[in-house]
Symmetry: C2
Amino acid sequence: MSNNLQLEKQLCFRLYSLNKLMCRLYAPLLKELALTYPQYLVMMVLWQYRQGISVKDLGGQLDLDSGTLSPLLKRMEKQALIKRERQTKDERIVLIKLTQAGIDLQQSAEHIPAKMFAVTGLSAEKLQALNLTLDQLIENIAN
Amino acid sequence: MSNNLQLEKQLCFRLYSLNKLMCRLYAPLLKELALTYPQYLVMMVLWQYRQGISVKDLGGQLDLDSGTLSPLLKRMEKQALIKRERQTKDERIVLIKLTQAGIDLQQSAEHIPAKMFAVTGLSAEKLQALNLTLDQLIENIAN
DNA sequence: CACTATTTGATTGCGTACAACTCAATTGGG
DNA sequence: CCCAATTGAGTTGTACGCAATCAAATAGTG
């Protein structure tokens, strides 16, 4: 026995499965906002950085590179949720800012966190404990 | 205050980030085997189901549909890791079986779980506790 | 037995992820 | 001041993940 190559034993498979399950639960809620989950993550960052944020710093927040963000932001610009402004001081930098439609969308998203919390079926204490464990794990892994 | 739309508060963002981090840690190990992480998952199932498994049952194990598995399996067939055999009793069913090369690859993968466990920096007890918590969460969510 | 509903797998199209690369703008060392 | 190195964003190519759709085969029903 002692076969370590089993799905049931693997932490990573649980994380992989849970991430997919979560995205599927978000999908119907986000569909009302015409957002995908990664686009929703971008919006959450932008709702905090009202003055705008560079593509690089946005990638720093979400741990995504320009290869992912550039086409994603292009789609969001086409939806008129964001606008791009190239800096004059340093023309390499593109500042991402919300449009009024993007700002307004926050109202429609306010209810989502509570709904997602509900489906987890966890108590607030268990959720916080899990968050702390995962933060520690991220810390350990990310060096 | 009390803005719930913050990345730092979101369990799902942790799962999303951790899943990506884990895949990046697997990548160099799996590159030696010329496998991606989802392909590695398929191999783990096949190493258990030595007599072969249908595409549907494989999808049941991994929670993936044929839209993902069909092209993925086609690539693995091209690498000569697996072969497809359409059943004679029920011609709708395609049985996925390992080739000898696929069977042999298990030896080269034996060291991976221990290496991945090492990078988590978790004790065996903490790992098991986390696995149990995640299993409960999956149970709650999957209905 | 004929007809319909279901099952199984494949295909298409879209949206991520990410490695590898290009390119322009900026910076820093001599 | 000049040139090499760095930085920031974008492009290309490959591989998922999944919704929607389709075709073939089987099972079920009257």
